[in-house]
Symmetry: C2
Subunit: 203 residues, 2 copies
Amino acid sequence: MLEQISASKSEILDAAAHCFMTMGADSASIDDIAASLGSTKGRIYHHFPSKGALLAAVQLRAARFTYQAVSAVADDALPPQLCLERMARAHVMEVLRSLPYHKVILQTYTGARAKTSNAFELGMQAQVRAEHRQYAELFRDQIARGIEADIFPERNLTVTVAGLMLMLNSPVFWYQPDRGAGQEFRNTIADDLAEMALASLRA
Amino acid sequence: MLEQISASKSEILDAAAHCFMTMGADSASIDDIAASLGSTKGRIYHHFPSKGALLAAVQLRAARFTYQAVSAVADDALPPQLCLERMARAHVMEVLRSLPYHKVILQTYTGARAKTSNAFELGMQAQVRAEHRQYAELFRDQIARGIEADIFPERNLTVTVAGLMLMLNSPVFWYQPDRGAGQEFRNTIADDLAEMALASLRA
C-alpha cells in the first residue's frame, strides 16, 4: 500500500484535505483548492483528472497513513493485548497528526448512494473501501488471536472491531487542532483511548 | 424535551429520514419525500417550511428518541456502573430501532460549515446541538459519579465520553436492517457493546 508521492502532489492533497474539511467535500471546488495553494487549476489537473478523483485520493491517503503507522508497530511475536495497545496508540496519534484527511473520510462515510457514475472515480472509491477493510483486518486479526488464546471473552467480531475502531476514531468528531491543544493533550487522548480500547476487550 | 407529534407528522419524518438516509441529505428533495409518501408536497409544507427545517426536525427527533429511551432507565439510586450499563444497552437498542434517523445525523455531522443562512434553520440547528449536548450529559454525569466514587480510574472526561458514545453509535456506521438481521442479532449487538462500553471505563 505504501507509495512514494512527490512533494508537489503531497502539497495538493494537504490543501485539498483542508478545503474539503472546512468547506465540506460537496461545496469545495478545484478553484477553492487552487486558490488556497496560490496556484493554477492546471497544476491540480496535471495530477488529478477531476474533483472526485482528488477526493478519492485524499480518502486513500487517509487509509494509508494509518496503515503505515499501525503496521509498523504490529508484531505477532507480542501477546495480542500488548500488540493491540501499541496499535491503538499509534492509530490515535496518526489520526491526530493527519486530522483533515480523517475528517474528510468522516464526511463522505455516510452510507448514502455514490454520487458519481464516472468509472475512474467509482474504481477509486472501490479501492478506498478495499484498503479500509484491509486496515481494519490488522485489528481484527489481533482481536481474534486474543479470543483464541482466551485472553479476551468471545464476542461477535464485527460488532467488536467496529466498536473499537469507532472509539479510536472518536477525536475525529470533536478534536479542533487550532484551539491551542498541543502535544501534551494529544498524548493524553492517545493514552486514554488506547487504555479504554484495550479494557473494552476484557470481560 | 418530549413532545407529542401527530401521526401524520410522524409519518412525514419517518419518510424524510428514510429518503435522506438512502439518497443523502444533500440529494433528497421534498419531491422525493412526497413521492415516497404517495402524497403532495403541500402536505409536507403544511408542517415544515423548508427542506432544511425538515432535515433539522429529523435530527432533533433522533436526539429525542435516544434521550427518551435512556433517561427512562437512568437512575441515580443505582451504582454508576450498573446505571451506565442499562443506559448503554438502551441507547444501542434505540439506535437500532430508529436507525434511519441516526444515519442522517451521521451524514450531517461533518464539522464543515453550515450550508444555510436561513435564520429559522440556523436556530433549529442550534437546538439540535444543544439537545445532543444535553443527551451526552446523561452519560457524562454517571461517568463523573463513577470516577468520584473511585469505581472508574481518573481520565479526561471529554475524551472518555466521546469515546464511549462513538463505540455505542458504531452500528449506525455498518448495520443494515434490510439484510435479514433480526431481533436476536440486535440483542447480541446491544449486549456486546454495553459490556464493552462498561469494561472500557475500568482500569
